[in-house]
Amino acid sequence: MKVIRGAVDEMWSVMEQMVGSVFRHGLPLTDKIAARTALTNFVLHIHPVRVRRSWIRMSYTLCLGGLSFFLFIVLTVTGLYLMFYYVPSINHAYQDMRDLQFVVTFGGLIRNMHRWAAHAMVITVWLHMARVFLTGSYKKPREFNWGVGTVLLLITLLLSFTGYLLPWDQLSIWAVTVGTNMAKYAPIAGPYTRYLMLGGHAVGDATLLRFYVMHVVGLPLIGFLLMVVHFWRVRKDGFSGGL
């Protein structure tokens, strides 16, 4: 009996140690415990330890930055799903897109989520920028973060542009023909830039592959790293609302 009791106690203490190693501070019953939890937890550290109600007034921020980030997550997850069926080659791309739309279970839902979230993200990023401008939140000491934000806007637009080619329908091909011809009008480096973008002289297999690589790896990775900096600076420069 004593042996069994000892074993149970032993197991209990191991369990306690395991749970305690994850939840170190217990329930956040006081402000002090809550603050310590937020400070030492990886997920919660993104959130400030202390937030004034006035800082996060919805009528001030309209949550546009948060919505943009939420849509970025939606796009990352749905994009990952789409990659299971999509092959970036001119012989497969259009058929794979049609299969996703009409053959794959819930494929239409995932594709449309990706499509609509992409449209919505361009809109929310623009509105976020407009809000920051109109409330003067780009001023000192937040000039650097405004700069990071403009690069993030550019990356959002480039993601939108590269994604536009991937269905490989008539609209895609000619939109990218038009877009890369615009790049050609740039002085001196224009024609060379177009050659690098297309991987040739006209929109083709090489173009589809490089747009795909930039769309699924290159641009999201740069965007993610800049977002980390962007959110960090929001924290460090302080919130502009309700001063």
């Binding site: 000619w174 023909t177 038009v178 011809n181 991987g199 490089r210």
Partner: protein, 194 residues
């Protein structure tokens, strides 16, 4: 900033081993990074593209000049080329819109709707033809992207296109078939006489 730089220069007159190595290290790092950047750009620049070659011979029925009637316009859509035959010879048009590069499409009538709407349409500088109320229908090309329009001989007359579509080299090969090179742009007077 300026004071820092001045002090840096003054210090450098009597440079310590430590700061010399630090500067040498940073210079090395910068040069290596510049080379890496150069290599990255060179790497994504294809040296061979395996695209459709610019020179070709029209296949099948379109191979021989005798299969083109005088006054005919023939679109070879896969090659984005048009072959026109007039009384004074053949000429080829590169079917790429001079606005932003889409492919204009042939229509037997590209003018009558504009004439009816009262739009003044300029005279074709090469043929002297003009669409009027009395004679509203002229054949030509319309671009689906932004609505540029061209006469049958590639001269632009409506929409955002800034100049006529390019005329490209056409000749008769030794085997008597037509030969077109899209990489050679020729002037508007060029004709292949057969």
């Amino acid at each position: 900033m300026a004071a820092d730089f001045k002090r840096f220069i003054e210090d450098s007159r009597e440079m310590s081993r430590r700061s010399f190595l630090a500067i040498a290290g940073w210079v090395g790092f910068t040069v290596a990074s510049a080379i890496a950047l150069f290599q990255s750009v060179k790497f994504i620049q294809p040296n061979a593209t395996y695209e459709d070659p610019p020179a070709f011979k029209p296949a099948g029925d379109l191979a021989l000049p005798s299969s083109y009637a005088v006054g005919s316009t023939t679109v070879i859509i896969d090659k984005r080329v048009v072959i026109n035959r007039d009384s004074n010879g053949f000429y080829a048009i590169s079917l790429i819109c001079t606005h932003l590069g889409c492919t204009p499409r042939y229509f037997p009538d590209v003018t009558s709707d504009l004439v009816l709407a009262g739009t003044q349409i300029s005279k074709d500088p090469d043929t002297g033809q003009q669409a009027t109320r009395g004679n509203p229908i002229l054949p030509g090309f319309k671009c689906p992207c932004h609505g540029s329009r061209y006469f049958r001989d590639a001269d632009n007359f409506f929409g955002p296109a800034p100049r006529p579509m390019d005329r490209v080299h056409i000749e008769l090969a030794k085997d008597g078939k037509l030969f077109i090179d899209r990489s050679i742009i020729v002037d508007h007077q060029y004709r292949l006489k057969v």
